[in-house]
């Protein structure tokens, strides 16, 4: 009788992670789409709406109503989206029946990225050839400056989405360098179409602050309003022209509302800066915050209101003096393990 030395009844376990991320088959995606459409009709039925005209926004509202969630992260809340948005786009099998791959750069590993580099380099050579032809014919080289300020190149993530392939930072920087070299050539206007695929418009960030025009009330006196905030205080101020320098806060005179000199100085600072102390009247309302915060809020509100009465140069002076900037300082939160926002507990040696 033979004695078995080793018995392995279990089949050799395949390494579960070796095959890479899960590949979704076409049949699976199709089934998911069918289930999604069916579920959409059920949901419409539940909500009492018409299943035919049930849009994605209606779905979102219905889900938010049926499954209310207090989670902060919007991505973590229950959602019902079309499967093409949920399952990321993946590559299908890259070779035909006889085994030959479709793309000529398949064996490099990063076929879309290298084919993109190949195309871009070809455009570059085209432009150089065109330039040489122009020089040979003694024609002037076009020098219309491309507006570089209003456009930016695609980010790495956007490029990855475009190519459906992972890129490294090095690859991305090389591609951007090649594009910049292409754009730097004088005759690059020929390939403008190609370059525009990779550049995006940057919206003008500096929004011109619109200074509101003066309004006139029943007596014919010009006035203007402004809003300001500081810490938790919110204030609105109405500044009237042809005044005597009277300031009313929440129905009471400034002298009674702010007994402390410092707060009154803060209120008068914008007028003193512009040299218009006795010329304007002010009526303001303020709520929230403490003594100093309310004073700061009214100061900001009155400065904003005064912009309408004053030239652009003086508005610039006010901005540089810091009268028009919202003070971003708020109370810092207390952290666990500490007594206050910064103060730690008393350290005891033993």
């Amino acid at each position: 009788t033979l004695r078995l030395i080793c018995t392995t009844t279990a089949v050799q376990r395949k390494n579960a992670g070796a095959s890479g991320p899960e590949k979704y088959t076409e049949a699976f995606i199709k089934k998911q789409i069918e289930e999604f459409n069916l579920g959409k009709r059920h949901l419409a039925n539940m909500m009492g709406e018409d299943p035919e005209t049930f849009t994605q926004e209606d779905i979102d509202r219905a889900i938010a109503y049926l499954f209310p969630s207090g989670l902060f992260d919007k991505q973590a809340r229950p959602m019902m989206k079309h499967p093409t948005e949920v399952f990321p786009e993946q590559r299908k099998i890259q070779w035909g029946e006889d085994g030959r791959p479709f793309h000529f750069l398949f064996y490099t590993g990063k076929q879309s990225y290298y084919s993109l580099m190949h195309e871009t380099y070809e455009k570059f050579l085209n432009v150089q050839k065109h330039q040489e032809q122009m020089i040979a014919q003694d024609l002037p080289l076009q020098k219309e400056k491309r507006n570089l300020a209003g456009s930016r190149w695609l980010t790495k993530i956007e490029l990855e989405e475009m190519l459906i392939e992972k890129l490294s930072d090095d690859d991305y920087s090389r591609f951007i360098q090649l594009l910049q070299k292409l754009v730097a050539l004088p005759c690059a206007d020929i390939e403008e179409n190609y370059i525009q695929k990779f550049s995006k418009e940057v919206p003008v960030q500096l929004q011109k602050v619109v200074i509101e025009p003066l309004q006139y009330d029943e007596r014919g006196v010009a006035f203007s309003t402004g809003e300001g905030k500081r810490k938790t205080a919110r204030a609105t101020a109405v500044v009237y022209d042809n005044g005597t320098g009277k300031i009313t806060v929440n129905g009471t005179d400034m002298l009674h509302y702010f007994p402390v000199l410092q707060d009154r100085e803060q209120l008068l600072f914008p007028f003193q800066f512009l040299g218009r102390i006795g010329k304007h009247d002010m009526v303001c309302t303020v709520s929230g915050g403490g003594r100093s915060a309310q004073a700061g809020a009214i100061r900001l509100a009155s400065a904003k209101a005064l912009r309408s009465f004053v030239t652009e140069k003086e508005v610039e002076f006010m901005r540089q003096a810091g009268l028009l900037t919202v003070d971003p300082r708020v109370k810092e939160r207390k952290k666990p393990g500490q007594e206050g926002p910064r103060r730690k507990f008393t350290w005891k040696k033993r």
Binding site: A18, S19, G20, I93, Q94, W95, D98, G99, R100, P101, F104, L105, F106, Y107, T108, G109, K110, Y114, H118, Y121, E122, L125
Partner: protein, 216 residues
């Protein structure tokens, strides 16, 4: 079908590869120019004709024979529908080689060679990949003047190789070496032209023979 595959093997030069180039063409394309005497590799000595002012001159008669053998071999591979992969690490000719490969309908890899592309292909590409049946090196060295990793990998995976070896290269693991210059643009354009013409010729012949067989 059997006849299609066995018939070309009976002729020594079924695809008349010898007509594609002459010694004068090779000389005009500066294929005979090698590197300096100090860069010479020991195993290239049989292929070198001589040395003039410290620069090695490659023997063009031997180059002719090797080139003919190599082109014949590529033609046979292309006739049988094999996958041909052009490899080179020379940056100046990367675009030219990729365009040549695209024109032939074959494949090219002139970029950074990632570690296990041939040896670990199942992990890189997917379970059912087909590896190349021939690897053509238009420059055997990589950017650090060391032999390209693909030579060793192809030898490991039993894939035949054809390669243009310069005087500083190691012709050992290459099945069909072609001693010749791999640095001047004229020489590279000549090689690309020759490979392209052979492959296209072989594929056309295959299509003609298949059509002929179907008609019968």
């Amino acid at each position: 079908d059997d006849k299609l595959l066995t018939e070309p093997l009976s002729h020594p030069d079924f695809f008349s590869v010898k007509e594609l180039f002459t010694l004068k063409d090779l000389f005009d394309a500066r294929v005979h120019l090698g590197h300096k005497k100090g860069c010479r590799h020991r195993f290239m000595e049989p292929y070198i004709f001589g040395c003039r002012l410290d620069q090695d001159i490659i023997d063009l008669d031997q180059t002719m024979q090797h080139l003919q053998l190599a082109l014949n071999f590529t033609a046979h591979i292309a006739y049988r529908g094999g996958i041909i992969l052009f490899v080179s690490r020379k940056r100046q000719f990367c675009h030219l080689i990729e365009s040549t490969a695209r024109a032939c309908g074959e494949y090219a890899h002139t970029r950074y060679w990632q570690g296990g592309l041939l040896t670990n292909a199942r992990v890189h590409f997917g379970p059912g990949v087909r590896l190349p049946d021939l690897v053509v090196f238009l420059s055997t060295l990589n950017n650090v003047f060391e032999p390209h990793v693909a030579i060793r990998d192809a030898a490991k995976m039993s894939i035949p190789t054809v390669g243009v070896v310069d005087t500083n290269c190691n012709p050992c693991l290459i099945t069909y070496p072609i001693p010749g210059n791999d640095d001047s643009p004229a020489a590279m354009e000549l090689y690309c032209k020759l490979f392209r013409m052979t492959i296209i010729r072989a594929k056309d012949k295959r299509r003609q023979s298949e059509a002929f067989e179907e008609l019968r």
